[in-house]
């Protein structure tokens, strides 16, 4: 029961992005993730609907990661293999720095 209590407390918060994660929108998404992180130990950031990711978006992603990490929290990214987000993170060789899942189900199915 103690474990159940613990898990309920840290139930992941989901933030679903769509459109661009770029210099025009990154501040808004960072605020969303910051908000989501206040009530949860894990934030699942679903990038499935992201059709444009630029370098400002990549920097934002790592600020989100660092911000949550500093509070002892985790960021799990959903980025399907055929999507733009995964491709760009792989090209930049940054994919190992983030926990990346193929689907939201996979992200929620794992115990982080």
């Amino acid at each position: 029961m103690a474990l159940d209590e613990e898990r309920r407390v840290t139930e992941p918060a989901i933030v679903e992005l769509s459109g661009g994660l770029d210099l025009a929108s990154v501040a808004r998404w960072e605020a969303e993730v910051g908000k989501a992180g206040t009530g949860s130990g894990t934030v699942v950031l679903d990038l499935t609907g992201v059709d444009f990711l630029d370098s400002a978006g990549v920097h934002g992603l790592f600020r989100m990661l660092a911000g949550l990490d500093a509070q002892g929290k985790r960021l799990v990214v959903v980025a399907p293999r055929e999507g733009r987000a995964r491709r760009l993170l792989e090209i930049l060789d940054l994919q190992r720095l983030v926990v990346m899942c193929e689907s939201r189900e996979e992200a929620l199915g794992n115990r982080w």
């Binding site: 630029d54 400002a56 760009l88 930049l92």
Partner: protein, 131 residues
């Protein structure tokens, strides 16, 4: 020259206006028969170079910064030209290093030409579909 053979416009001086330029370039690439994957790579490379041109704080000595994209037999060429020099520029943020790395990774060839007043960045990306 038909309407789809070249895309040309002035680059805005504000980052907030870049998404509009992205839409216009995307439309032109689609009309020019460039397949979606290559088109998105070209759009991202051009976006990063334009963002760099807007962000670097150099007093411009000439006219507007421009972007010209041309459909070529085996690919697309994009030229971004401005009248500033990048040589001694340090961006207030360190983000641009990643941006130019990303731009370079998106295209087959990227060169920066600085042998005159101003800077030109030339991008070339092959396409599967011929012009």
């Amino acid at each position: 020259m038909d309407d789809t053979s070249a895309f040309s416009c002035a680059i805005p001086d504000r980052l907030e206006a870049l998404p509009e330029l992205r839409s216009a370039l995307r439309s032109w690439l689609a009309e020019s028969g460039v397949e979606p994957d290559a088109a998105e790579d070209i759009v991202l490379a051009a976006w990063e170079v334009c963002a760099n041109a807007i962000e670097h704080p150099v007093a411009r000595s000439g006219p507007d910064t421009t972007i010209v994209a041309t459909r070529q037999p085996l690919g697309v060429q994009v030229v971004v030209e401005d009248s500033g020099s990048w040589r001694h520029v340090r961006s207030p943020r360190s983000d641009r290093g990643l941006g130019l790395r990303l731009a370079r990774a998106m295209v087959d060839c990227m060169s920066v030409v600085r042998d005159r007043p101003g800077t030109a960045v030339i991008l070339w990306r092959s396409t599967k579909s011929a012009a």
